[in-house]
């Protein structure tokens, strides 16, 4: 396999890893207010991802930096083309990121409500915008012969891109809701299960349409390929397992569904990285956007050494925090006098 193909796969893996991991914490961000019920419940929901979300988000940072290093042309065209969408994305990531930390730092209902809304809204916009962005890569954007984006902001709103955005939001909701059911107890768990069971069928329909539409957009007929079939089967399995109350297996299924959905966009793209709607002669490909052989070799060595280490310690983190989070641990403190000495 050539170096550029290896790096295309690595970039796809980084994006897929990002959506698997950040996918559930985005879902938790969107759902924490609804499934929490009360302040203790909301805190329990947020604390399920407390130790994890920051490390998950680094997958996005590394995916972006990896594109910069391995495919500077792709990074340059995509990031300048999606300019205003990325401004909104960054704003969403910023308010979401600080809301975790700031929310509990002042004891006041309005303070917490404000950050709850920002966390919810931020967590909604991130998968929506990234979905639109990744969908646009395949749907095609006006790009000229010098690899420059020539459209306006409205040109970014391709029907397929918008649908991918909605599908990603639904997948994150299902993934996050299942995660909450798996990681909490008492009323938070019950409410998460209940709500996610309702979201799941909608997600199933969306993924089915996504699978077909992706095929059509890629110009490969109507019948989905293996990855897209996997995505559909996994999301249906997830919905069924949720109904059966087996949230552990349901989480495995939603993981597969997200992974297959995200990576199907990349497999349909290859060897292109951005489709030009102006002319297929102007398509950005792994070949006309890649860095030189030396840079790719250096980066391959670094990635081969470091990625397994990263995966190992991130897996260890998940192991350390495997226990369910109980809302009663966040119940308002009992007055000191009543505490047994």
């Amino acid at each position: 396999m050539t170096l550029v193909s290896t790096w295309f796969i690595l970039i796809a893996v980084l994006w897929t890893g990002f959506f698997i991991l950040e996918g559930f914490d985005l879902g938790v961000g969107m759902l924490h207010g609804v499934v929490g019920g009360d302040e203790a419940g909301r805190r329990a929901a947020i604390n399920t991802i407390g130790p994890l979300w920051d490390g998950n988000e680094v997958w996005l940072v590394v995916a972006g930096a990896g594109m910069f290093a391995a495919f500077p042309g792709w990074y340059a065209t995509m990031f300048s083309g999606l300019y205003l969408a990325l401004v909104v994305l960054l704003a969403a990531l910023i308010v979401r990121g600080v809301s975790f930390e700031f929310r509990g730092k002042v004891d006041g209902q309005r303070w917490r409500q404000t950050w709850d809304w920002l966390l919810t809204g931020g967590s909604l916009f991130v998968p929506l915008l990234l979905g639109v962005g990744l969908g646009d890569l395949l749907a095609g954007l006006p790009i000229d012969s010098s690899q420059e984006y020539t459209g306006s902001f409205l040109d970014l709103l391709t029907p397929y891109g918008l649908f991918v955005g909605v599908t990603f939001v639904l997948l994150c909701l299902m993934h996050g809701g299942t995660f909450l059911a798996l990681k909490t107890t008492d009323h938070v768990r019950t409410r998460s299960l209940h709500l996610t069971r309702r979201i799941a069928p909608v997600t199933c329909v969306a993924v089915l349409v996504f699978a077909v539409w992706t095929q059509v957009t890629a110009g490969r007929g109507v019948l989905p390929n293996l990855l897209e079939v996997t995505a559909v089967l996994a999301v249906v399995a997830g919905a069924w397992l949720l109904a059966e109350g087996r949230e552990g297996w349901a989480f495995a299924a939603s993981t597969v569904a997200i992974a297959a959905s995200v990576s199907s966009i990349f497999t349909e793209l290859y060897p292109r990285v951005m489709v030009s709607s102006t002319s297929s002669a102007f398509d950005l490909t792994v070949h006309n956007t890649a860095s030189g052989t030396y840079a790719l070799k250096v980066m391959t060595v670094v990635a081969v050494i470091l990625l397994p280490v990263v995966l190992a310690y991130q897996a260890w983190t998940y192991h350390v925090f495997r226990a369910r989070v109980r809302p009663e641990d966040f119940a308002p403190a009992v007055p000191a006098a009543a505490e047994p000495s």
Binding site: N47, V62, G64, F68, A70, L86, L90, I94, G292, Q314
Partner: protein, 464 residues
């Protein structure tokens, strides 16, 4: 304003803002790790209380540092797409390594540290804060390597068919002298920043008489770290100046508004007037030989004047104006240096008090000064970055690409203006919230520690 001006303003604004938080994170992670190590070894509860007190300040600070860092990475592609397209082959590699080697380490272990107090064995938990400190320091290494390549590009060839730089020696990029000196300089400045913050917070608490025995320890630790750090930071900074004078003569000549070549060269304390249109400012109190010493490391060294560098650059790169903003260079140099001297004064006073076994808690004037000194390292860091980045202009990569040729062709002036306003509002709001929270938590009374006989008790996690 043009797209170029707005894009530059946006990059400058977001970078300066981001770097208010970065040095605190790097330095405070290290200091918190030291405090926790002290607790681990001595089992004295005051060290645990301090670890958690300053750890909370670290977390408030990290939150803003992390999210504003995202903007930094995205901006290269958004506002500077031609730059990214041209140099991504070289510049992208250290950025990707930064993510893989440093960001993962820092963020994953920070989660383990915050939430792992009651889940990890004490020794392992101690290791997690050291991993955070290592990750933070390592991230600075890679971004400094990337930045140093813009100051002094090495380890590349120009691809003849694309005309773009291509990496051909990663080792050269990672041993770039500008990088080595610059990285150590940044690490030391980070220690200085965090130590001054710790000293200032402790001084505030000591003046109020809150837990004086405990905050005396943190004030002492801050002073012990601060004193050698500020001395070394100034020494390394002056060595960095010599290195930069070699590769970027404009930068250093502009820092003294030295239009004509001189030997030996004096350094003025301040000037009246000056700037690119006023080549004969009134320089006040010129210290003989100091510029020669700073720029060349020798008593009688020659410093090439701006006029002469300009004419040699015109010959080398064609017609154009290659002189950076002299007014900014001159004053950035002085604000940085004077803030550093001010910090050194505070450190010396504090060390003297410790040395003479004076009661720190009773030295009212010193404590008052130490609180206000917190502003100095931030001035120093900001001025330092202005000196090095504004001094690189008009180049985005010294000698390889001009800044005006690096912008995104597909992005309109309106788009940049919209994003600039959006980030201004967002960052402004974040600054208010962050300062309010930092002050609130810095002034909070110290949480009670475990009873001394309870040293083996489980410490609860710091949850959201």
């Amino acid at each position: 304003m043009s797209q170029l001006d707005l894009a530059r303003l946006q990059f400058a604004m977001t970078s300066i803002y981001h770097f208010l938080f970065v040095p605190v994170t790097i330095g405070l992670a290290f200091l918190t790790a030291l405090l926790q190590t002290a607790w681990h070894r001595s089992n004295r509860p005051e060290y645990l209380r301090l670890t958690r007190f300053f750890g909370t300040l670290l977390l408030i600070n990290v939150a803003v540092g992390v999210v504003t860092g995202l903007v930094q990475e995205f901006q290269f592609g958004m506002d500077w797409s031609t730059y990214s397209r041209t140099v991504g082959d070289v510049f992208g590699a250290p950025l990707a390594m930064e993510g893989l080697a440093a960001f993962f380490l820092e963020s994953t272990f920070l989660g383990l540290w915050v939430f792992g107090w009651d889940k990890l064995p004490r020794r392992v938990h101690l290791a997690t804060i050291w991993a955070v400190a290592a990750g933070a320091s390592l991230s600075a290494a890679f971004i400094m390597a990337a930045n140093s390549w813009m100051q002094h590009p090495v380890g590349y060839t120009i691809n003849t068919s694309t005309g773009r730089p291509q990496l051909n020696d990663i080792w050269a990029v990672l041993t770039n002298p500008v990088f080595l000196w610059g990285y150590v300089h940044v690490l030391l400045a980070s220690l200085v920043t965090a130590a001054v913050v710790m000293l200032g917070v402790s001084a505030w608490q000591l003046r109020r008489g809150n837990a004086p025995e405990v905050f005396k320890s943190s004030a002492r630790l801050a002073l012990i770290v601060l004193t050698p750090s500020i001395v070394l930071a100034m020494f390394v900074g002056s060595e960095l100046g010599v290195v930069e004078a070699r590769y970027q003569p404009m930068k250093i000549a502009a820092a003294e508004a030295q239009w004509t070549t001189c030997q030996p060269c004096s350094f003025s304390l301040f000037q009246v007037g000056g700037g690119n249109d006023d080549k004969t400012p009134t320089k006040v109190i010129a210290i003989p030989h100091l510029l020669s010493l700073l720029a060349t490391n020798s008593w009688n060294g020659q410093v090439t004047g701006l006029n002469e560098v300009q004419s040699s650059y015109e010959q080398q790169y064609g017609p154009g104006n290659y002189v950076p903003n002299v007014f900014v260079q001159y004053w950035a140099m002085r604000v940085m240096a004077y803030a550093a001297v001010g910090i050194m004064g505070v450190a010396a006073w504090g060390i003297w008090l410790l040395w003479r076994k004076k009661r720190l808690a009773g030295a009212t004037l010193f404590l008052r000064l130490a609180v206000w000194a917190v502003i100095l390292p931030f001035l120093m860091n900001t001025a330092g970055w202005l000196l090095t980045e504004s001094g690189r202009q008009p180049w985005i990569v010294q000698g390889v690409q001009l800044t005006k040729n690096g912008v995104s062709p597909s992005v309109s002036t309106t788009s940049v203006a919209i994003s600039l306003v959006a980030f201004l509002l967002l960052y402004g709001a974040l600054a208010v919230v962050d300062v309010v929270l930092m002050m609130r938590y810095a002034r909070r009374e110290l949480a009670a520690g475990p009873a001394a006989e309870d040293a083996e008790a489980v410490v609860p996690a710091m949850t959201y």
